[in-house]
Amino acid sequence: MSSPNEKIEFVKKPFPSKILNIGMICFVLGAVLIIAGYFVDHTRAAFSNLIILMVLISVGLGSLFFIGIEYIAGAVWSTVFRRVPEFLGGVLLIVPLIAIPVFLNSHGLYHWTHEEAVQSDEILLNKSSYLNLNFFLIRLIFYFILWIGFYLFLTKNSKKQDKTNDAKLSKINIKISAIMMLFYAITITFAAVDLLMSLEPHWFSTIIGVYYFAGTLLAGLSVATFFIVYFNENGYLIKGIVSDHYYSLGAFLFAFTNFWAYIAFSQFLLIWYANLPEETFWYLHRWEGSWIYFSIALIIIRFVIPYFYLLSQPSKMNPKKLLFASVWIFFAHIVDIFWLAMPTLNKNNVPLGWIELSIPLLLVGLIIIVLYFRYKSSNLVPIGDPKLKRSIDFRL
């Protein structure tokens, strides 16, 4: 085996213009739709905005987790394409921007912001020391600062390593990642509670944070997988990424598809078994009207299809199949967040119209544009990472 400090040559190609064009078109269309939506029905547009926010946070935090877990575990297989999740984590930088309209429209989104409703409701009154707008804003700012701070720390060190080849920077990043994981677990739980669970302020589920985390990982992983496979198949990445790397990505997606199903079913089973009216109404809303079809579709889209699709070994190794699976899982995550948030807006029918069309369009657009700017600002392969040689040589 050659020495780890041996310099590996890599020439970066310009960002694929096909992807950038798709991103720009999606972004413009999505932005027009949601702005028009704000003029037509601002509550409904705010719900779409909230879903966009939650999925963006998912992509950012999922990528952040991917980077962090690689450092902590000393994983080798993912180092060669670690820059892709590092770029994707950049969506955290625009998350506060997306959160501003959500916060400004919180009156339409969150029942607990209505003073008079809180005063006449004993349960909400008791929760009001936590669920009030000032504290809500403080918490959001706190999460954003932490996430962006950790993201910038990790990527700055990683980028510096390209020039200095300094192995110490990896060690620093391992320590930062370990500290990050603690804050990560707490903030993602509280963010899920604040932004999603408090849509129904009477409802509570102690597992909602884990539920959101399971989806988050899938979202981050699926987007990263898509771009890794796309870049590699079109020769943007360094030579040497083979089906073994693909298999690991596919297995990761497969594992967390199961993890999501496990968590989602645990949440359902406990509430179903206990049968307490203060908990069951949340599921009943999703089991009435046309929501019942949506709920059944969610199980099939989010679990059954990806499970059987990724079950066999060849489908994890075949780049085309993996591309399809990652796109599917990413859109399944949008469906999942839609299912979590939208029944609060309309309990009887699934609100699907042109305003909701802005959700996938704007998401795809924003992710590609962020990826484009991050791509421009640094190298696509962590050329100075001491694990890079081993990563290219990685075999199962």
Binding site: D244, F265, F268, L269, W272, Y273, N275, Q313, R395, L396
Partner: protein, 379 residues
């Protein structure tokens, strides 16, 4: 030497790359019965040897699926047909409750079947002899060398050709392995007395320990955790009393403290005339009545006594408490229904004590008045 039967021609290599190259050329040379032994899984051997994917996955799939369907049907039969128990008003056959059981049974059966298939089908247990055992070749490949062996029952096998072929691969060592004559005589048999005896001994040992633990150990001090005591347990046989019952009837003419015998069982008319509500219309009594009513009565009678049950039709709805019939009943008559039950309604005597029953009667009166308020009530 020549009297011995050849099992295989083996070659040792020093590097993983060499063994992959060797495996490739062996495959290309057209040998079908050959094997590669390495100290750890070497990547690329599967494709070099052109091995088909393992069939073990199908064992897991078939057994797992049949176990899942089997346990689903079994649980259906138990929960809905043979022994239906109402659990929290849920349907007898509730799929969500069975999901964890189906999952566990599927995983357990599939993994056990995989292990058994490995042992008995792929490893041909109880055959535990293999000509490569106890050879220098095996010692080398289980520490740091990479071995290739071409079996003698390969259709293309002939000592001369194989020797030339292996020499062309330039191994660091080559060796012919012969069958062990002792081992050739022994035919593996699953019903071999030694093996069967071994199974029987293990079976007796495990069941003996289980029997001892469950039937003897659990009743020894200190494992009983004070479960066995000198005081009589309900329905236990008594050695003191002549009739043999541990549960005793009160002595004639006495009642237990706080207990008030009810004299009007089966006599609603008498109850309605002879009893009067001893409680006053006070806030304390009404609060008590409301509390108990909401706990015990409201599930069927509804929060306001209108007979709008919360049980979603799992139990027949009772008539309204605001009918002329109930409104005209005396307090004692309502008390009688609580004591004795009526139609589908069971007796609530054991849930409510005497004070609470009268408080509930008070609260029912208050409900009736609130829904049929007269003008005079407003003054």
């Amino acid at each position: 030497m020549n009297e011995k039967i050849i099992f295989a021609y083996t070659a040792l290599f020093d590097k993983p790359d060499d063994i992959i190259k060797a495996a490739k050329s062996t495959e290309e040379a057209g040998y079908t019965k050959y094997d590669v032994n390495t100290p750890y899984p070497v990547h690329g051997l599967f494709s070099a040897m052109k091995l088909p994917p393992s069939k073990l996955g199908y064992v897991a799939l078939v057994v797992g699926l049949s176990a899942a369907i089997g346990i689903l049907l079994t649980m259906y039969w138990i929960a809905a047909i043979d022994y239906p128990i109402n659990i929290g008003g849920k349907p007898f056959f509730s799929f969500p409750a069975l999901v964890p059981i189906i999952f566990e049974v599927t995983v357990l059966s599939a993994s056990i079947a995989t292990v058994l298939a490995l042992l008995f089908y792929f490893f041909k247990f109880p055959n535990n002899s293999y000509p490569l055992h106890d050879t220098n070749y095996m010692k080398a490949v289980s520490s740091d060398k990479y071995g290739l062996c071409i079996l003698a029952d390969d259709p293309k096998f002939s000592i001369k050709d194989v020797e030339d072929f292996i020499t062309s691969l330039s191994p660091i060592h080559k060796e012919i392995i012969y069958f062990d004559e002792e081992e050739l005589k022994v035919k593996p048999n699953i019903l071999e007395p030694k093996f069967v005896t071994f199974l029987i001994v293990i079976g007796i040992f495990i069941s003996g320990i289980t029997y001892f633990t469950l039937n003897k150990l659990m009743y020894m001090e200190p494992f009983t955790w004070m479960m066995i005591q000198t005081k009589p347990i309900p329905q236990e046989e008594s050695k003191i009393f002549a009739d043999g019952y541990s549960m005793r009837v009160p002595i004639k003419g006495t009642i237990s403290r706080g207990h008030m015998p009810y004299l009007f069982y089966g006599k609603p008319e008498e109850a309605s005339v002879k009893m009067q509500n001893p409680l006053a219309f006070s806030k304390v009594n009404l609060e008590l009545g409301k509390n108990k009513y909401n706990i015990y009565c409201s599930p069927c009678h509804g929060n306001f006594g209108e007979g709008d049950s919360r049980l979603r039709g799992q139990f027949p709805n009772p008539p309204s408490l605001h009918s002329a019939k109930v409104s005209n009943w005396s307090d004692g008559r309502i008390y009688h229904v609580i004591m004795e039950g009526q139609n589908v309604m069971p007796s609530y005597a054991s849930q409510l004590n005497i004070n609470e029953r009268w408080a509930v009667v008070l609260y029912v009166r208050a409900l009736q008045r609130s829904l049929n308020a007269k003008e005079s009530d407003l003054k």
